[in-house]
Symmetry: C2
Amino acid sequence: MKVQIIGAGLLGTSIGMALAARGIQVGFSDLSVRSLKLAEGLINRDLPTTEDSNEPADLLIAAVPTAQVPSVIIDAFRRNLAFNFTDVASVKTKCVAEIEAFDAALATIYCGGHPMAGREVSGPESAQSDLFEGRPWILTPTHATSAETLSLVSGVLKVVGATEIRMSPSDHDRAVALVSHAPQVLASLMAGELALNSSQGVPLAGQGLRDVTRIAASDSRLWSGILSANANALNPILASMHGRLGDLISALNEPAEMRSIADFLDQGVAGRELLPGKHGARRQYVVLPVLIDDTPGQLKRLFNDAGDAQINIEDVSMEHSPGHPTGLVQISVAPDAAPDLERYLRERGWRIYPPRNPANLA
Amino acid sequence: MKVQIIGAGLLGTSIGMALAARGIQVGFSDLSVRSLKLAEGLINRDLPTTEDSNEPADLLIAAVPTAQVPSVIIDAFRRNLAFNFTDVASVKTKCVAEIEAFDAALATIYCGGHPMAGREVSGPESAQSDLFEGRPWILTPTHATSAETLSLVSGVLKVVGATEIRMSPSDHDRAVALVSHAPQVLASLMAGELALNSSQGVPLAGQGLRDVTRIAASDSRLWSGILSANANALNPILASMHGRLGDLISALNEPAEMRSIADFLDQGVAGRELLPGKHGARRQYVVLPVLIDDTPGQLKRLFNDAGDAQINIEDVSMEHSPGHPTGLVQISVAPDAAPDLERYLRERGWRIYPPRNPANLA
């Protein structure tokens, strides 16, 4: 098995490292000599690369930005560099259509892919062989894709530890428009408003604002390309939200429209309840807020005590108040375990707030 | 010192408990006999309440919903129940104006307030005497407010451990519109869109979507009242975001408008950087992502090791992949401490991803 990876960035290099670690023969190419050398240095150099053998690879992975995927794959197909092809772009419809339109033979040996792994760091220096472990990796085979190609690509996902999900290219693009691209737009919309009103109370920001805007810190050049490539799937969602925001503004201008305002908020409550919890299941956790001093060792002592209670902690987050040397650690546990953990921690002197679900601070 | 609290809900009861714990005489009133009895049971009954003494209280706190604050305070003033007045409503301009318009004498002995403490639980059963510790509590004195009244109210904030912040009522309302009410609207807008497209890929939801929509789970009746009461300050912000969202939709429809899309995202990056970190300061932390097994005791072992490294952990959050029995714990530390902690944890066998700032998963 030989895999040729075009693009020695974060994703390409991470895939190469994961495959090489399992003894699979990996070759890289990249326009940047520095990236290429670094990626090659990160994999086991004792293994011969495909460059050395000059024979077509079993699989070529185009780990380049969305807009470049079709030309990279078509060029590699023409040069007979591989028997099968895939890519890692986060928008699929255009890409798949261009590749399939080019040549019916290429269409049978190509299967689109999208690993949903971290992207806010970039370059081979950030690569890690376990980047995909437990992460969803969507494959978008079409009717043209051969069973052999799909099986080969699927096998690579297994090797790197990813969780395979199959969807059509258009279902994929609509899904990521809703769960990834639209949230990015709203986070940027809110954070951008802070930039436009920076004198207006930003120091009062609490956890709610921080959560809503966290992903607004992402790379804007990368995201311009993603939003633009997925405009067809994204725009109906943004148009719907634009209309609903307009309706809310009208309702807020009309004191009699309390019902519309509540309906808008209730729709949000209903949508929030649809989100899968851990492991894809819809589970509700009880949140125990514990007050700790802002000194080293406090978390150690807290998790020591929680660990001794033999209760599985499902989630942890920390919250701070401006100007105060204490922090609030919020521990999420299964509802039936919460009373035991609360009693256990209280007995050990921890100050615990009333259990609650994660929500807003008014 | 005697304090009379109207409204034995979460905030009123918590204030009463905190004051009673410091030996201050506290009386409650509430239309619900059950809430009243529970609140009275939660404070030290050995202390005489103001009901017992029948003399005016030094301070009356109206801990009732925003819309009821003016009538409650005016009624109490007419009945001579107290020498000074404050409230805890999360919108101030209307409230303060109505009270000051009623009587110039009342205006001198009233100072508006807004404790920014948890609200997603309610009722006296959720009250806790340390609810306000280290939390911002905004006071909105006007030119009419006497120095004595301001000093008295300010003293109560100190007693309950809150961090006092002074603002004009209109500055307060504009500030919370930006940092609290607008984020609530955007979270509901995004989560509501999930409800409208529930078949469309919601199971693929990652941490980004979860963060953006977390506060959409908040109580919609409470929030209808808040948004409606603060419509004057909130609507210009919502109108600005409505316009910017419309511009982005237009840009996405025009392939040549890549620059506009990047500008929109850059504005978000700039706004996100304005958010204060821990303790109100703008500090950047390095995030070490650590992969753990989903078994009890893993967090204990991790924080044990981190504690032994004598490095202060600034923030912790957890992230899970659907269908995989591992979790990613993200530990935030000061940039200069990160390499030491990373090396220390790696030596102890922890699997650490490349350090990164919290951002989106593409």
